[in-house]
């Protein structure tokens, strides 16, 4: 007990004495843990609450059947367990044009009077009328239309009468997601694309090739006559939608499976269930995990570098304390515990800060999007999530301090008391090479060689930052290609809400990465400056100019940063590929610009500490070293 009190007291006093360092360490670890918390929180978040709110407000169906003929409807509407229905409604395919943008749409023919099941909720304007259509809100946002605008479909002009949300379909751009296409619950339950018999127009690409868009289709509602008026012999009406309300909504999946499994016809009905649609809507939110979890990984790596540099800078001070503890009878385990306690305490505190910040920030990224009404609310955090987050913080702290702690506990007491410190490394090849360089190069290269671990940490810092930047660039390239693909198919130019959301999150993670990397650069440079104080003063005593010394310190950082920036490019591409899985490579010039940009930023951040380091009073430093 006494030992625990001692360890705690020493750690607490040290934190108080070095408050600024403690704050930096907490910030570094909290950034990683907050990001992980947000990522984990998305596991538990579905858009259940917004979906259910929307479902209630729109008389949402339990099952939607997609039929190839209206005649198929009666067997469904009269089936056992069906309490109510609406439809069948004709679903015509068309190409919509607005303000230079165009996209594929499904136009569902509706009555001007409200439906008993699936009556979309207007968020603006009024319901369908002859010549006036209602556009699903996510699609309207992507297309950029408002109530009162005029759009053209298959060559005919229509007014935008209203904008609405529905619980009967997944929102743009994943309209057909949630449609049941597998025969068994164990199979692949939901499609990622519209069924082949959904009549999607074939579009000509510039190279003459014809492709069918099976994705990124928008939903509109029109009067039945307007919807059927969009058809033609070349674009026949092949789809009808029927919305079913069951006596027991929980039976929706079983109802759909039963009907799907007992048919072998290629034109048999396909189904969506409310559970499937809810799950698909949730994926819009959970998609952010693909950004946040790799982001948390990168931030954790940077946090390790931050802690390692902060701890490394004070190793000689720790060593003196270790010597004192040993001299008064501290065992190696007590010494190691003392060494670790401070950083572990700070890490756990940072984890709590990160958990709170992540939990509070999570609702910002769990907004359900324009497709639904209501909010997802505060995400649940399970005990396992909390353990994972605290575990990450402890791993970060241990990764940076365990080895120094063990080394300190095993080291010589006299050596620690005398503050001998670790002698700098000698790298003969570097020394010989550096003697051929101008003075800044000579000094810089020798500094790199004398503290190889710090140089590695510095390189790792740049590599992780470059990884993050390259990932962002790769994602932007992917998004552009994706949108360019839409242009090729539909002449589109529409924004993609899923991609937009990912890009926003990626930008936030990248800003955190860059901020942490900038802090790390400042830590590392300052640690280098402090470590080089004696060498720099001596060089100046021998005739080196202060500018040569500051340039040498900058060269040190550049020499470390250069391999990091180069290595960060492939690592970033690998990370992106792992996260996105079907990405496309960004142009080489973008990647080179990213690496150069990171290098320039690192150099810029190094200038001030390097100049300050070179302006030290020579006589004072040399006298202090001699004392």
């Amino acid at each position: 007990m006494g030992t625990a009190v001692l360890v705690f007291r020493l750690a607490a006093r040290d934190v108080r004495r070095h408050a600024a360092q403690a704050v930096l360490l907490v910030v570094a670890i909290a950034a990683a843990t907050a990001t992980l918390t947000m990522g984990l929180a998305l596991n538990g978040v579905t858009s259940q609450s917004p979906y259910l709110t929307t479902r209630a407000a729109t008389k949402g169906p339990d099952v939607v059947g997609y039929l190839t003929s209206a005649a198929q409807a009666s067997s469904l509407t009269h089936a056992s367990g069906v309490a109510n229905h609406s439809g069948p409604f004709p679903v015509a395919s068309a190409t919509i044009h607005f303000d230079g943008r165009q996209a594929d749409v499904f136009a569902e023919g509706r009555s001007t009077s409200p439906s008993a099941v699936d009556q979309p909720l207007l968020t603006a304007g009024s319901w369908v009328r002859p010549g006036g259509v209602v556009i699903e809100r996510t699609f309207a946002d992507a297309l950029g239309v408002s109530v009162g605008d005029r759009v053209s479909m298959n060559g005919k002009s229509y007014a935008v009468a209203g904008i609405a949300v529905t619980a009967a379909q997944s929102p743009y751009p994943n309209l057909c997601n949630g449609t049941l296409v597998a025969a068994t619950p164990a199979g692949s339950n939901f499609s990622n694309a519209c069924p082949s018999w959904f009549n999607i127009p074939f579009l000509s690409l510039p190279n003459g090739q014809e492709l069918a868009s099976s994705d990124e289709v928008g939903q509109i509602w029109a009067t039945e006559s307007d919807a059927t008026g969009l058809t033609s012999p070349a674009n026949p009406l092949t789809t009808y939608a029927v919305n079913l309300k069951l006596t027991n909504p929980a039976d929706a999946k079983a109802f759909a499976y039963d009907r799907f499994a007992h048919t072998t016809s290629a034109t048999a009905p396909l189904f969506s269930t409310w559970q499937g649609l809810e799950s698909e809507d949730g994926k819009l939110i959970q998609d952010g995990q693909g950004v946040l979890q790799p982001g948390a990984f990168l931030l954790a790596l940077l946090a390790i570098a931050s802690v390692a540099v902060l701890v490394g800078r004070r190793l000689s001070e720790y060593a003196r304390r270790v010597g004192l503890l040993k001299a008064v009878g501290g065992t190696p385990s007590v010494v190691a515990a003392t060494f670790l306690a401070e950083n572990l305490m700070l890490a756990v505190f940072a984890a709590v800060v990160g958990l709170a910040a992540g939990w509070l920030a999570a609702p910002l990224i769990t907004k359900p999007g324009a497709a639904l009404i209501g909010t997802a609310g505060a995400p649940p955090l399970s005990f396992a999530n909390v353990v994972q987050v605290i575990g990450l913080a402890i791993v970060v702290a241990l990764a940076a301090t365990l080895v120094p702690a063990i080394r300190a506990s095993r080291g010589s007491t006299v050596g620690a008391l005398n503050d001998v410190g670790r002698p700098p490394k000698r790298r003969g090849a570097f020394v010989r090479l550096s003697s051929r360089l101008p003075i800044p190069g000579l000094f810089g290269l020798r500094l790199v060689a004398r503290r190889p671990r710090r140089s590695l940490l510095s390189a790792a810092n740049v590599a992780v930052t470059t990884m993050g930047v390259v990932t962002v660039i790769a994602f932007h390239a992917f998004a552009e290609n994706k949108l360019a693909g839409a242009v090729a198919l539909t002449g589109g130019g529409l924004s993609n809400p899923v991609v937009n959301r990912d890009e926003q999150m990626l930008t936030v993670v990248t800003i955190m990465l860059i901020t942490l990397a900038a802090l790390n650069t400042l830590f590392t440079t300052w640690a280098t400056v402090l470590d080089a104080r004696h060498a720099a003063a001596l060089m100046q005593a021998l005739g080196a100019r202060s500018r040569q010394i500051s340039s040498g310190l900058i060269v040190t950082q550049v020499l470390c940063a250069l391999p990091g920036a180069i290595l960060g490019i492939p690592l970033g591409l690998v990370l992106f590929e792992l996260a996105v899985k079907h990405g496309s490579l960004p142009p080489v010039t973008w990647l080179a610009a990213a690496a150069i940009g990171v290098l320039v930023a690192m150099v810029a951040l190094t200038v001030v500490p390097a100049r300050l380091g070179a302006r030290q009073p020579i006589a004072e430093v040399l006298s202090a070293e001699a004392a």
Binding site: P424, R426, S435
Partner: protein, 246 residues
Amino acid sequence: MNENSSGAPIVRARGLRKEYGSGSGLVRAVDEVDLDVAQGEALAIMGPSGCGKSTLLHLLGGLDRPSAGEIWLQGRQIDKLSERGLAQFRRHDVGFVFQAFHLMDELTAQENVELPALLGGRSPREARRRARQLLDQVGLSDRAGHLPSALSGGQRQRVAIARALANDPQIVLADEPTGNLDSAATLEVLRLFEGLHTAGLTLIVVTHDERIAATANRMISMRDGAFVDEMRLTGGTRGNLAGLGA
């Protein structure tokens, strides 16, 4: 030889003052010092710890700037030099020998000696040749590839002396050069200084060891930042350095 050489002094300081702090905490480490050192002279500055002798040496060598007063070396006023000018001055005109040696731990003896020559713009080959020559001169050619940690205190100080000579300075400034050495090593260092003096270099040595001071041409005593005594010597134990080893 060469003591009291005719002509202008190689080092001249007038009204030299160095202050630290302000108000009631003001400390005058060097207080209105006037000093002339002739070409080829060996000057010892003595005094207790904290009397300002090392500060004076730092001012004379351009490692620090005076609060007031003027310093002239070889007819050039150095207290008005820019940082760049001071760096050039330290590089070519003076050589320092410190009590704590101040060798780079990760460089071999030869590489330490090469350093000022490389700073002075000599080619690596020329710097290496000069370093070998100097190490030979201080009797350490067989230790050229050793790291400082593998050398004795005396050997380290001899490396430091060789380094101080790398750019052929006119003046060598030594701050307690034997303070960390045993008697045998002290003797080795003094013999080297004797050789430098004989070769015509101007030596200014700060020490609190009277035996070391006795080898100079002139000895100045300092107290509280000011000169309190000056004594011309006849060469003291020079020529009989072996007696110091006792």
